[in-house]
Protein backbone atom coordinates (compact mmCIF):
# COMPACT_ATOMS: atom_id res chain seq x y z
CA UNK A 1 0.00 0.00 0.00
CA UNK A 2 1.15 3.51 -0.74
CA UNK A 3 0.21 6.32 1.55
CA UNK A 4 -0.82 9.48 -0.18
CA UNK A 5 -0.90 12.39 2.20
CA UNK A 6 -3.53 14.26 0.27
CA UNK A 7 -5.82 11.28 0.77
CA UNK A 8 -5.40 10.80 4.49
CA UNK A 9 -8.69 10.78 6.32
CA UNK A 10 -9.53 12.96 9.30
CA UNK A 11 -8.82 10.27 11.86
CA UNK A 12 -5.37 9.60 10.42
CA UNK A 13 -4.68 13.33 10.32
CA UNK A 14 -5.81 13.67 13.93
CA UNK A 15 -3.43 10.91 14.91
CA UNK A 16 -0.53 12.57 13.08
CA UNK A 17 -1.46 15.87 14.68
CA UNK A 18 -1.45 14.19 18.07
CA UNK A 19 1.95 12.63 17.39
CA UNK A 20 3.16 16.10 16.51
CA UNK A 21 1.62 17.57 19.61
CA UNK A 22 3.15 15.02 21.96
CA UNK A 23 6.47 14.92 20.14
CA UNK A 24 6.87 18.68 19.98
CA UNK A 25 5.59 19.00 23.56
CA UNK A 26 8.31 16.67 24.73
CA UNK A 27 10.90 18.47 22.66
CA UNK A 28 9.91 21.84 24.05
CA UNK A 29 9.92 20.64 27.66
CA UNK A 30 13.42 19.24 27.09
CA UNK A 31 14.39 22.67 25.83
CA UNK A 32 12.79 24.37 28.85
CA UNK A 33 14.85 22.16 31.15
CA UNK A 34 18.00 22.93 29.25
CA UNK A 35 17.61 26.70 29.44
CA UNK A 36 15.82 26.55 32.78
CA UNK A 37 12.90 28.71 31.72
CA UNK A 38 9.19 28.33 31.32
CA UNK A 39 8.20 27.89 27.71
CA UNK A 40 4.68 28.02 26.33
CA UNK A 41 3.81 26.08 23.26
CA UNK A 42 0.94 26.56 20.87
CA UNK A 43 -0.85 23.48 19.53
CA UNK A 44 1.26 22.35 16.58
CA UNK A 45 -0.22 22.64 13.14
CA UNK A 46 -0.04 19.68 10.82
CA UNK A 47 0.28 20.83 7.24
CA UNK A 48 0.18 18.99 3.97
CA UNK A 49 1.61 20.85 1.06
CA UNK A 50 2.03 20.09 -2.64
CA UNK A 51 5.63 20.24 -3.89
CA UNK A 52 4.89 23.03 -6.33
CA UNK A 53 3.61 25.18 -3.48
CA UNK A 54 6.60 24.68 -1.21
CA UNK A 55 8.43 27.75 -2.42
CA UNK A 56 5.27 29.83 -2.08
CA UNK A 57 4.81 28.63 1.46
CA UNK A 58 8.23 29.78 2.52
CA UNK A 59 8.20 33.54 2.84
CA UNK A 60 11.65 33.59 1.37
CA UNK A 61 12.85 30.28 -0.09
CA UNK A 62 16.31 31.74 -0.57
CA UNK A 63 16.75 32.98 2.98
CA UNK A 64 19.10 30.88 5.05
CA UNK A 65 17.59 28.68 7.73
CA UNK A 66 19.02 26.08 10.05
CA UNK A 67 18.27 22.43 9.50
CA UNK A 68 19.17 19.65 11.92
CA UNK A 69 18.83 16.17 10.51
CA UNK A 70 18.91 12.90 12.43
CA UNK A 71 18.59 9.38 11.13
CA UNK A 72 16.17 6.90 12.73
CA UNK A 73 16.84 3.18 12.89
CA UNK A 74 15.18 0.29 14.69
CA UNK A 75 11.57 -0.74 14.18
CA UNK A 76 11.11 2.20 11.87
CA UNK A 77 13.76 3.79 9.67
CA UNK A 78 13.99 7.23 8.15
CA UNK A 79 14.95 10.73 9.14
CA UNK A 80 13.72 13.54 11.28
CA UNK A 81 14.42 17.15 10.40
CA UNK A 82 14.07 20.14 12.68
CA UNK A 83 14.14 23.44 10.85
CA UNK A 84 14.24 26.89 12.36
CA UNK A 85 14.99 30.36 11.09
CA UNK A 86 18.18 32.15 12.06
CA UNK A 87 16.40 34.65 14.28
CA UNK A 88 14.86 31.83 16.32
CA UNK A 89 18.19 30.04 16.52
CA UNK A 90 19.85 33.24 17.74
CA UNK A 91 17.21 33.60 20.46
CA UNK A 92 17.71 30.02 21.61
CA UNK A 93 21.49 30.32 21.61
CA UNK A 94 21.31 33.55 23.59
CA UNK A 95 19.05 31.89 26.15
CA UNK A 96 21.34 28.92 26.35
CA UNK A 97 24.36 31.09 27.00
CA UNK A 98 22.53 33.11 29.66
CA UNK A 99 21.17 35.97 27.63
CA UNK A 100 24.17 37.33 25.93
CA UNK A 101 22.83 40.10 23.77
CA UNK A 102 24.21 39.04 20.43
CA UNK A 103 22.15 39.83 17.37
CA UNK A 104 24.66 38.35 14.94
CA UNK A 105 23.29 36.42 12.00
CA UNK A 106 26.32 34.18 12.08
CA UNK A 107 27.16 31.54 14.62
CA UNK A 108 30.62 30.72 15.86
CA UNK A 109 31.87 27.20 16.37
CA UNK A 110 30.69 26.90 19.97
CA UNK A 111 27.28 28.29 19.08
CA UNK A 112 27.01 25.87 16.15
CA UNK A 113 27.73 22.91 18.39
CA UNK A 114 25.15 24.27 20.86
CA UNK A 115 22.60 24.41 18.04
CA UNK A 116 23.49 20.87 17.07
CA UNK A 117 23.05 19.71 20.65
CA UNK A 118 19.79 21.61 20.94
CA UNK A 119 18.50 19.89 17.83
CA UNK A 120 19.78 16.58 19.10
CA UNK A 121 17.94 16.91 22.40
CA UNK A 122 14.73 18.26 20.86
CA UNK A 123 14.45 15.69 18.11
CA UNK A 124 15.59 12.98 20.52
CA UNK A 125 12.72 13.87 22.87
CA UNK A 126 10.37 14.01 19.92
CA UNK A 127 11.37 10.52 18.85
CA UNK A 128 11.28 9.35 22.47
CA UNK A 129 7.64 10.40 22.69
CA UNK A 130 6.88 8.67 19.43
CA UNK A 131 8.56 5.53 20.69
CA UNK A 132 6.57 5.57 23.95
CA UNK A 133 3.34 6.15 22.08
CA UNK A 134 3.85 3.31 19.64
CA UNK A 135 5.96 0.89 21.66
CA UNK A 136 8.33 0.82 18.71
CA UNK A 137 12.06 0.80 19.28
CA UNK A 138 13.54 3.82 17.54
CA UNK A 139 17.20 4.82 17.70
CA UNK A 140 18.63 8.15 16.57
CA UNK A 141 21.92 8.86 14.85
CA UNK A 142 24.22 11.78 15.59
CA UNK A 143 22.74 14.96 14.11
CA UNK A 144 24.11 16.97 11.26
CA UNK A 145 23.46 20.69 10.91
CA UNK A 146 23.21 22.67 7.69
CA UNK A 147 22.64 26.38 7.23
CA UNK A 148 21.38 27.11 3.76
CA UNK A 149 18.47 28.31 1.66
CA UNK A 150 15.13 27.21 3.11
CA UNK A 151 14.17 25.62 -0.21
CA UNK A 152 17.36 23.61 -0.37
CA UNK A 153 17.01 22.34 3.21
CA UNK A 154 13.39 21.46 2.49
CA UNK A 155 14.36 19.47 -0.57
CA UNK A 156 15.63 16.77 1.78
CA UNK A 157 12.24 15.86 3.30
CA UNK A 158 10.48 16.71 0.04
CA UNK A 159 12.48 14.11 -1.89
CA UNK A 160 11.71 11.45 0.68
CA UNK A 161 8.01 12.31 0.58
CA UNK A 162 8.31 12.40 -3.20
CA UNK A 163 8.81 8.66 -3.19
CA UNK A 164 5.38 8.30 -1.59
CA UNK A 165 3.24 10.96 -3.20
CA UNK A 166 2.86 14.50 -4.37
CA UNK A 167 2.99 16.38 -1.13
CA UNK A 168 5.00 16.86 2.01
CA UNK A 169 3.74 16.59 5.56
CA UNK A 170 5.14 18.64 8.37
CA UNK A 171 4.39 19.84 11.82
CA UNK A 172 4.81 23.47 12.66
CA UNK A 173 5.37 24.18 16.32
CA UNK A 174 5.53 27.60 17.80
CA UNK A 175 6.79 28.29 21.28
CA UNK A 176 7.39 31.34 23.41
CA UNK A 177 9.64 32.27 26.26
CA UNK A 178 8.14 35.52 27.53
CA UNK A 179 7.77 37.75 24.49
CA UNK A 180 10.25 35.79 22.42
CA UNK A 181 8.59 33.76 19.77
CA UNK A 182 10.37 30.76 18.30
CA UNK A 183 8.94 28.93 15.33
CA UNK A 184 10.31 25.54 14.46
CA UNK A 185 9.19 22.94 11.97
CA UNK A 186 9.52 19.23 12.53
CA UNK A 187 9.53 16.91 9.57
CA UNK A 188 9.05 13.30 10.45
CA UNK A 189 10.30 11.42 7.40
CA UNK A 190 9.93 7.68 7.76
CA UNK A 191 11.07 5.54 4.84
CA UNK A 192 8.47 3.90 2.65
CA UNK A 193 6.96 1.13 4.73
CA UNK A 194 7.77 2.78 8.03
CA UNK A 195 4.86 5.20 7.74
CA UNK A 196 2.66 2.21 7.37
CA UNK A 197 4.24 0.58 10.42
CA UNK A 198 3.67 3.77 12.35
CA UNK A 199 0.03 4.22 11.41
CA UNK A 200 -0.63 0.52 11.85
CA UNK A 201 0.84 0.49 15.34
CA UNK A 202 -1.37 3.41 16.20
CA UNK A 203 -4.35 1.49 14.90
CA UNK A 204 -5.41 3.89 12.16
CA UNK A 205 -4.73 1.63 9.21
CA UNK A 206 -5.20 -2.09 9.05
Amino acid sequence: MTINFSELNNIQLDVLREIGNIGAGNAVSALAKMINRKIDMAVPKVKILEFKKISDMLNAPEDPVIGILLGMTGDITGNILFMLDKKSARLLVNMLFGFKESTSEDFDEIEMSAIKELGNIMTGSYVGALSMLTNLKILCSVPDVAIDMAGAILSVPAIEFGKLGESVLYIESEFNEGDNKVIGDFFLIPDIGSYETLLKTLGVII
Binding site: F51, A146, M149, G151, S155, I159, E166
Partner: protein
Protein backbone atom coordinates in the same frame (compact mmCIF):
# COMPACT_ATOMS: atom_id res chain seq x y z
CA UNK B 1 10.37 43.41 -21.14
CA UNK B 2 11.31 40.02 -19.81
CA UNK B 3 8.72 37.95 -18.13
CA UNK B 4 9.91 36.20 -14.96
CA UNK B 5 8.42 32.76 -14.68
CA UNK B 6 8.85 30.65 -11.56
CA UNK B 7 9.36 26.92 -11.77
CA UNK B 8 8.38 25.14 -8.55
CA UNK B 9 9.70 21.94 -7.07
CA UNK B 10 8.71 18.95 -9.23
CA UNK B 11 7.69 21.29 -12.02
CA UNK B 12 8.85 22.25 -15.52
CA UNK B 13 8.12 25.11 -17.88
CA UNK B 14 8.98 26.06 -21.45
CA UNK B 15 8.69 29.59 -22.76
CA UNK B 16 9.47 31.89 -25.68
CA UNK B 17 11.80 34.87 -25.83
CA UNK B 18 11.96 37.26 -24.03
CA UNK B 19 11.68 35.61 -20.64
CA UNK B 20 13.53 34.38 -17.58
CA UNK B 21 12.87 31.03 -15.94
CA UNK B 22 13.63 30.91 -12.23
CA UNK B 23 13.76 28.15 -9.67
CA UNK B 24 14.48 28.96 -6.04
CA UNK B 25 16.48 27.00 -3.50
CA UNK B 26 17.61 23.88 -5.32
CA UNK B 27 19.07 21.42 -2.85
CA UNK B 28 19.45 17.77 -3.79
CA UNK B 29 17.05 18.40 -6.65
CA UNK B 30 18.49 19.13 -10.09
CA UNK B 31 17.65 22.03 -12.35
CA UNK B 32 17.88 21.11 -16.04
CA UNK B 33 18.09 24.24 -18.17
CA UNK B 34 17.48 23.82 -21.90
CA UNK B 35 18.09 26.46 -24.56
CA UNK B 36 17.63 26.57 -28.30
CA UNK B 37 19.84 29.42 -29.59
CA UNK B 38 18.11 29.44 -33.00
CA UNK B 39 14.68 30.39 -31.62
CA UNK B 40 15.63 31.54 -28.09
CA UNK B 41 13.06 29.18 -26.67
CA UNK B 42 14.04 28.04 -23.19
CA UNK B 43 12.90 25.37 -20.77
CA UNK B 44 13.62 24.59 -17.14
CA UNK B 45 12.84 21.46 -15.12
CA UNK B 46 13.23 21.09 -11.34
CA UNK B 47 13.37 17.34 -10.73
CA UNK B 48 13.40 15.57 -7.37
CA UNK B 49 14.08 11.93 -8.17
CA UNK B 50 16.19 10.11 -10.75
CA UNK B 51 13.71 7.71 -12.27
CA UNK B 52 9.98 7.17 -12.58
CA UNK B 53 10.61 3.44 -12.36
CA UNK B 54 10.61 3.61 -8.57
CA UNK B 55 7.07 4.97 -8.49
CA UNK B 56 4.04 2.72 -8.65
CA UNK B 57 2.13 5.19 -10.69
CA UNK B 58 3.48 8.39 -12.15
CA UNK B 59 1.08 11.18 -11.27
CA UNK B 60 3.52 13.98 -11.92
CA UNK B 61 5.97 13.65 -14.85
CA UNK B 62 7.88 16.66 -13.60
CA UNK B 63 9.12 14.86 -10.51
CA UNK B 64 11.52 12.47 -12.25
CA UNK B 65 14.58 13.16 -14.39
CA UNK B 66 13.66 10.60 -17.05
CA UNK B 67 10.07 11.72 -17.64
CA UNK B 68 10.50 15.45 -17.00
CA UNK B 69 13.25 16.01 -19.59
CA UNK B 70 11.32 14.24 -22.36
CA UNK B 71 8.18 16.26 -21.62
CA UNK B 72 10.08 19.52 -21.40
CA UNK B 73 11.71 18.95 -24.80
CA UNK B 74 8.29 18.15 -26.27
CA UNK B 75 6.88 21.39 -24.84
CA UNK B 76 9.77 23.38 -26.29
CA UNK B 77 9.31 21.80 -29.72
CA UNK B 78 5.61 22.59 -29.51
CA UNK B 79 6.56 26.25 -28.97
CA UNK B 80 8.70 26.10 -32.10
CA UNK B 81 12.13 25.07 -30.84
CA UNK B 82 14.48 23.14 -33.12
CA UNK B 83 15.13 19.89 -31.36
CA UNK B 84 18.58 19.41 -32.85
CA UNK B 85 19.84 22.78 -31.60
CA UNK B 86 18.80 22.34 -27.98
CA UNK B 87 21.64 22.52 -25.47
CA UNK B 88 21.61 21.81 -21.75
CA UNK B 89 23.06 23.21 -18.55
CA UNK B 90 22.81 21.51 -15.19
CA UNK B 91 22.76 22.84 -11.63
CA UNK B 92 21.98 21.38 -8.21
CA UNK B 93 22.27 17.82 -6.99
CA UNK B 94 23.87 18.82 -3.70
CA UNK B 95 24.19 16.72 -0.60
CA UNK B 96 22.68 19.02 2.00
CA UNK B 97 23.59 16.92 5.02
CA UNK B 98 26.70 14.92 5.77
CA UNK B 99 26.39 11.50 7.22
CA UNK B 100 29.21 9.05 7.62
CA UNK B 101 26.88 6.16 6.83
CA UNK B 102 25.91 7.51 3.44
CA UNK B 103 22.61 5.82 2.79
CA UNK B 104 20.88 5.84 -0.56
CA UNK B 105 18.62 8.72 0.26
CA UNK B 106 21.56 10.87 1.28
CA UNK B 107 23.28 10.37 -2.07
CA UNK B 108 20.13 11.20 -3.99
CA UNK B 109 21.60 14.44 -5.35
CA UNK B 110 24.35 12.57 -7.13
CA UNK B 111 21.91 10.06 -8.57
CA UNK B 112 19.68 12.87 -9.77
CA UNK B 113 22.63 14.34 -11.67
CA UNK B 114 23.60 10.99 -13.19
CA UNK B 115 20.04 10.24 -14.29
CA UNK B 116 19.68 13.70 -15.85
CA UNK B 117 22.91 13.20 -17.81
CA UNK B 118 21.83 9.77 -18.99
CA UNK B 119 18.52 11.07 -20.26
CA UNK B 120 20.14 14.05 -22.03
CA UNK B 121 22.63 11.68 -23.69
CA UNK B 122 19.77 9.48 -24.82
CA UNK B 123 18.10 12.49 -26.40
CA UNK B 124 21.39 13.66 -27.97
CA UNK B 125 21.29 16.94 -26.10
CA UNK B 126 24.81 18.19 -25.29
CA UNK B 127 25.57 19.50 -21.81
CA UNK B 128 27.61 22.64 -22.28
CA UNK B 129 28.17 23.53 -18.63
CA UNK B 130 27.26 22.43 -15.14
CA UNK B 131 27.49 23.40 -11.50
CA UNK B 132 26.49 20.32 -9.55
CA UNK B 133 27.21 18.53 -6.28
CA UNK B 134 28.75 20.09 -3.21
CA UNK B 135 26.74 20.68 -0.07
CA UNK B 136 25.02 23.98 -0.69
CA UNK B 137 21.74 25.16 -2.15
CA UNK B 138 21.38 27.12 -5.38
CA UNK B 139 18.88 29.49 -6.92
CA UNK B 140 19.06 29.55 -10.72
CA UNK B 141 17.81 31.87 -13.45
CA UNK B 142 17.83 31.02 -17.15
CA UNK B 143 17.78 33.91 -19.65
CA UNK B 144 16.26 33.51 -23.09
CA UNK B 145 18.54 36.23 -24.58
CA UNK B 146 21.60 34.03 -24.69
CA UNK B 147 20.87 30.92 -22.62
CA UNK B 148 22.98 32.19 -19.77
CA UNK B 149 22.35 30.45 -16.46
CA UNK B 150 22.78 32.44 -13.27
CA UNK B 151 23.59 30.55 -10.08
CA UNK B 152 23.13 32.18 -6.71
CA UNK B 153 24.32 30.60 -3.45
CA UNK B 154 24.36 31.59 0.21
CA UNK B 155 28.07 31.17 0.80
CA UNK B 156 29.64 31.39 -2.64
CA UNK B 157 27.96 34.38 -4.22
CA UNK B 158 26.70 34.58 -7.78
CA UNK B 159 28.15 32.96 -10.88
CA UNK B 160 27.14 32.43 -14.49
CA UNK B 161 27.59 29.27 -16.49
Amino acid sequence: MHENIKVGMADYKATSHPSILITLGLGSCVGIALFDPSTKIIGLAHIMLPTSKIAKDVINDAKFADTAIIKLVEDMVRLGANRKFIKAKLAGGAQMFNFTDSSDSIRIGLRNVEASKEMLAKLNIPIISEDVGGNHGRTIELYSDDGKLMIKTVGFGVSYI
